[in-house]
């Protein structure tokens, strides 16, 4: 039987160390909503979302109550809209209409975010893909909770540099259209290399075409729990450090597995995957950077950071894998800047730079995330940063992503404030030497060789 120490430990994690289930994300296929008539398509999309997801929020609350564990977000991911709207949308404004429909449907069922205003263009863009991409600035400015993601490359296909170049401009336009709110639109827009089909986390969640009609994916979290566990092994060997992280990750993931199974049963929708991620929030004590400090660094970004992060990421996966029957999504430690107080402190202290963050993304999920840069950064520079990050993902056969916020009217020394889970970010300096001629080349970077590994 369960003993009092175990009960106290669990409740301490929940109450004092911010253990929570970060998100229950309901993936819904909209492929069957495709229609050549835009109005009919929007109606079908609205009906399907509001029918399939009608009990999602209620079910989430019931589970919260039953186990007294917070489930922070209830979200929806849908089939990439470029595929769904392909035959109905003749202009970018047609796609914006679908975005507004998604926004309304998501608000109707009461979820926090809906992801899937997406296009998969790793090798090439269809007409519809390009129309959707060009509609993103307006779509994100005229909706509140719709998130957009674009897959720009993969290990198998290489990097679509035409799309990378275009996204540099789109990110700038999105920032401009939402400049009244510190360019908030860019916080809802992410580009990927090797985007997973079953990611429950925003802004990159979409319901891949290889998925079933509807599926439940759950993202767990708990940087605070790992940090507290590591406090008890200060000065111990790497073996002890690794074991402690593994055991903690196991416990955290088991809670996610329980919640996912329960939600799946209650909603009558199959369980997909658990995403084993350490996702920080701006709350004090809920920080991945703090774990790195606890491992022995003065600040995130100090020499040793990449090694510490590599170990953390790997041990989290090793512990989590055994705790869940199906693992997927992004699965790893997230290192967003604005959503992690420890990262913000490290930037302000001068310890953490964009280049160091790029190095860190080689060993963890996901990428350059929630980083505010000067508003006057050139579109080609943004494309260059994206291309670098995509290259890391392509060569290392992992998911990488870029979510940059070129905050209009702001420069190094200023801060952007988004509030809530999105947090706040100091503007970070960018290397402004030109890459115009490189980014200006047309075509794609070929897929890398899969042999002769050195």
């Amino acid at each position: 039987m369960i003993n009092i120490n175990e009960v106290v430990e669990t409740n301490q994690m929940i109450e004092k160390e911010n253990l929570d289930v970060r998100t229950i994300t309901l993936g819904i296929s909209l492929l069957d909503c495709a229609d050549s008539d835009l109005d009919k398509l929007c109606e079908k999309v609205y009906t399907k979302i509001t029918t399939v997801a009608k009990d999602l929020v209620k079910t989430g609350r019931e589970i919260e109550k039953k186990y007294a564990i917070p489930i922070v977000n209830k979200r929806i991911s849908v089939t990439p809209i470029a595929l769904v709207g392909g035959s109905a949308c003749k202009t970018s404004d047609d796609f914006v209409k679908i975005a507004k429909t998604l926004d309304e449907a998501a608000k109707k069922v009461g979820v926090n975010f809906l992801g899937g205003y997406s296009a998969l263009v790793a090798k090439g863009m269809t007409k519809a893909d390009e129309l959707l991409i060009r509609s993103i600035p307006k779509a994100l400015a005229s909706t509140d909770i719709v998130c957009s993601s674009i897959n720009l490359g993969s290990t198998k296909t290489g990097i679509n540099m035409d799309a990378v170049r275009l996204m540099g401009e789109i990110i700038k336009q999105t920032a401009e259209l939402t400049k009244e709110n510190d360019s908030l639109g860019c916080a809802k827009l992410v580009v990927f290399c090797n985007a997973p089909d079953d990611n429950p986390f925003m802004a990159g969640a979409f319901h891949g075409v290889t998925e079933a009609d509807a599926v439940i994916n759950v993202g767990v979290s708990g940087p605070g729990v790992v940090k507290t566990a590591l406090e008890s092994v200060r000065g111990e060997s790497f073996e002890v450090l690794g074991e402690t992280i593994k055991k903690t990750a196991f416990k955290i993931t088991r809670v996610g597995q329980l919640v996912a199974k329960e939600a799946s049963k209650k909603l009558g929708i199959p369980f997909g995957i658990i995403d084993l991620s350490l996702a920080p929030t701006p709350a004090i004590g809920d920080s991945v950077a703090d774990i790195l400090c606890e491992m022995g660094l003065d600040h995130a970004g100090a020499p040793g950071t990449t090694a510490a992060l590599a170990m953390l990421n790997d041990q989290v996966k090793k512990g989590g894998i055994m705790a869940s029957s199906y693992v997927g999504g992004l699965s790893g430690a997230f290192i967003p800047v604005s959503e992690d107080q420890g990262m913000i402190d490290a930037v302000n202290a001068g310890s953490l730079t964009l280049e160091k963050l790029e190095a860190m993304t080689c060993v963890c999920s996901v990428g350059l995330d929630m980083i505010a840069i000067p508003g006057d950064t050139k579109a080609t520079t943004i494309s260059g940063i994206i291309a670098d990050e995509m290259a890391i993902g392509m060569v290392n056969q992992k998911t990488t992503a870029v979510r940059l916020i070129p905050a209009v009217g702001k420069d190094v020394g200023d801060t952007v404030e988004f509030g809530g889970l999105l947090g706040r970010a100091p503007i970070m300096p960018v290397n402004n030497f030109s890459c115009d001629a490189f980014v200006g080349r047309v075509g794609r970077i070929p897929a890398p060789i899969h042999s002769f590994k050195n």
């Binding site: 009092i4 106290v8 039953k66 007294a68 809670v255």
Partner: protein, 90 residues
């Protein structure tokens, strides 16, 4: 059998166990195990109970116990046992 864990945390005072147990008895909730300890200076009690013969639902019991906790100045929490099983048993 689906069991529920009740935890009571707060400053130690006369009659905490009595209050909670009276409520449980009145609602035909059987106590299977009970233990207590002091964690960081706070009185901490855990009960494993069985709600099967009670007419009240888990939600109602949970809300009413929370209410009783507020009256005597402690925090009372009800959770289904599965969360602890999941976390601490392979």
């Amino acid at each position: 059998m689906k069991r529920t864990i009740i935890t009571v945390v707060g400053k130690d005072t006369v009659g905490i166990i009595a209050k909670v147990c009276t409520y449980l008895a009145n609602n035909r909730i059987n106590i299977l195990d009970i233990s207590q300890t002091i964690v960081q200076g706070y009185f901490t009690m855990m009960m494993i109970v069985d709600l099967q013969s009670s007419e009240k639902s888990f939600d109602t019991v949970s809300d009413e116990l929370e209410q009783i906790g507020e009256e005597i100045g402690v925090v009372v929490k009800c959770q289904r046992e599965e969360i602890f099983d999941s976390m601490h048993r392979i």
